[in-house]
Amino acid sequence: MEILNIEDLVVDYEVQEGILRSVNHVFLKVRKGEFMAIIGESGCGKTTIVQAIFNVMPSNGYIRQGRILFNGTDILSLDPESQRRIRWEKIAAVFQAAQSSLNPVLKIKDQVIDTVLDHRQMPRVEIFERAGKLLKVVGLEPDRVMNSYPHELSGGMRQRVVIAMALLLDPELLILDEPTTALDLITQAQLIETLQHLHEDLSITMLMVTHDVSNVAKVADRVAVMYAAQIVEVGSVESIFYNPCHPYTIGLINAIPSVVGDLSAKKPIPGTPPSLINPPVGCRFHPRCPYASRLCREKAPELIDMEPDHIVACHHRLDVKRLQHEVI
């Protein structure tokens, strides 16, 4: 069962230099109850997908085509009021640098009340009870936090407050955009544990967008890899990490150092990510790809099934494994 189904999404930004296509014909399915992650480097369009799901594009951003089906209904075709109802009640999101998305001049409890009352009628006592429970779930002391102003809390605590607030209205889908950046290692680990816990105990569907490959390895069930505005590979976390088929995925995983294991085979991907204003013709990865052929320079590959639940957009997906050893 898909809870979220993105079909043929195209998003453009109008910038000084021309049209920047930030999301290029993206198809993505998120199943009910799973922990899905989108990984990609900065500027690959992953945050734009989140903004499109919420239909909160910056003023120079335009959704050109595509459908975003939430439980079968196209969110983008709804009127603004119905869209507003879905946001936070059905789909909640914790945006990048959520630490700073709290109102600095209101106590946490007032922000909690505002959030709930904006969507439904509920006595204050009940709201406090619910908020208290959620704050406990994310590992905070409700009494102390509710009466604090945001500046009295540390970055990690604020992050967790925002997550608790995102859960206030019992959403079915929680979207997290770079939840771990700007947090210290130990705080990061605690947050990741909290997310795992939420996912398992409250069975909330999660969609995490990040460039942190290592954290994805720890929590995700399924992973989508994005490169230059396109999805290049989707599969279970095991198949992505142990049996990657797209040369970009292979290169990316091999470019992340680790605190355990052998480092001698690690190496960076040559070249740099392309500009999205003038992306390369054909496969967008071909200028950096060690296996690129004429076909890659001329024709863009489509996402094709490799094995059950593992799709790859590469002309040479079948040979890559074999070639990998020859090239190195």
Partner: protein
């Protein structure tokens, strides 16, 4: 024997913040002693606010420590009242965009220091090409007339490194040089640092919060772990990673991300008593880690532990070294 390139002797730094009618003193670095040997890579790791950047700036002579000595090749750089210019150290910052002059081309950026450091005018062009070639900005001619905003983060950081080696520094302080660079390119910058180290013998003080990158870069070097202004563990990197002894470093290692689903799910984070760092300006008594340390005893709250050499080139500041469980991160893959 030649003296080490850089030596810090019991260096302390106290920042004084003037607030309304009162002064707040924040001790950023407390009595740190450190040595950077010729041709060595030393990784200085710690979390935000542990004083590692302050220490980097002190090492270069950009900041004057409140107490303690900074020696470059055995000479006290603060001997007397003003800083003696030695120009044996260089720094590379995190933000390469801020580090480069936005209205100068790559050519202009590199030309000025070359001329200043004695390259003849007729050789400058050739020298710049060689430099760009070396740091991997190729083909050089294509990049000569580019401005910083034309370049990607990785390219800009390479230019910064090219510029930093022009005065032939004995050491470079690299303060989080890869944290703003795309993950797929981070290793290439670390590789560049390793090549500079091999080719020119430049020593590196690599300041980072990313343990995995420290392990990658300083694999033949050393590591120093900082916590709240003090060094808690230091020594040969391989040794320290394999036999981490300080509970703080063990805790850091236990949460360090591993890009491998099975291994990452197997490791349990070391449970700390308290996740939050103590507030700045309110340093705990005794061992500064005791408020979070799961093994803390009475002695830890009373007496600050000293850094002792527990094995050859492995220094630890902890009262309970014998009692803290042995560290194992040796996972079968």
């Amino acid at each position: 024997m030649t003296p080490p390139v850089l030596q810090l002797k019991e260096v302390s730094m106290v920042y004084v913040k003037k607030a309304f009618l009162q002064k707040i003193c924040v001790e950023a670095v407390t009595k740190v002693s450190l040595e950077l040997r010729d041709n060595e890579i030393l990784a200085l790791v710690g979390e935000t606010g542990c004083g590692k950047s302050t220490l980097g700036r002190i090492a270069l002579g950009l900041l004057r420590p409140t107490s303690g000595k900074v020696l470059h090749l055995g000479t006290d750089i603060w001997d007397g009242n003003s800083r003696k210019s030695r120009f044996i150290g260089q720094i590379v910052h995190q933000d390469s965009y801020a580090a480069l002059n936005p209205v100068r081309t790559v050519y202009q950026t590199l030309r000025a220091p070359l001329v200043r450091y004695g390259t003849k005018h007729k050789d400058v062009d050739e020298e710049i090409r060689k430099l760009l070639e070396f740091v991997g900005v190729t083909p050089p001619d294509y990049f000569l007339n580019k401005y910083p905003y034309h370049l990607s983060g990785g390219m800009r950081q390479r230019i910064v490194f090219a510029r930093s080696i022009i005065p032939k520094p004995k050491f470079i302080v690299a303060d989080e040089p890869i944290s703003m660079i795309d993950p797929s390119l981070r290793l290439s910058i670390l590789d560049l640092m390793m090549r500079l180290n091999e080719e020119f013998g430049t020593a590196f003080l690599y300041i980072t919060h990313d343990l995995a990158s420290a392990r990658y870069l300083a694999r033949r070097g050393r590591i120093a772990v900082m916590y709240l202004g003090e060094i808690v563990e230091m020594g040969n990197l391989q040794e320290v990673f394999e036999k981490a002894k300080h509970p703080y470093f063990q805790a850091l290692l236990s949460v360090a991300p591993i890009p491998d689903p099975r291994a990452a799910r197997k490791i349990r984070p070391l449970k700390l008593k308290n996740v939050e760092l103590p507030k700045a300006g309110e340093l705990p008594s005794g061992c500064r880690f005791h408020t979070r340390c799961p093994y803390a005893r009475k002695i830890c709250t009373e007496e600050p532990p000293r850094l002792r050499e527990v094995e050859k080139d492995h220094w630890v500041a902890c009262h309970l070294i014998e009692e803290v469980p042995k560290w194992t991160l040796a996972l079968e893959r």
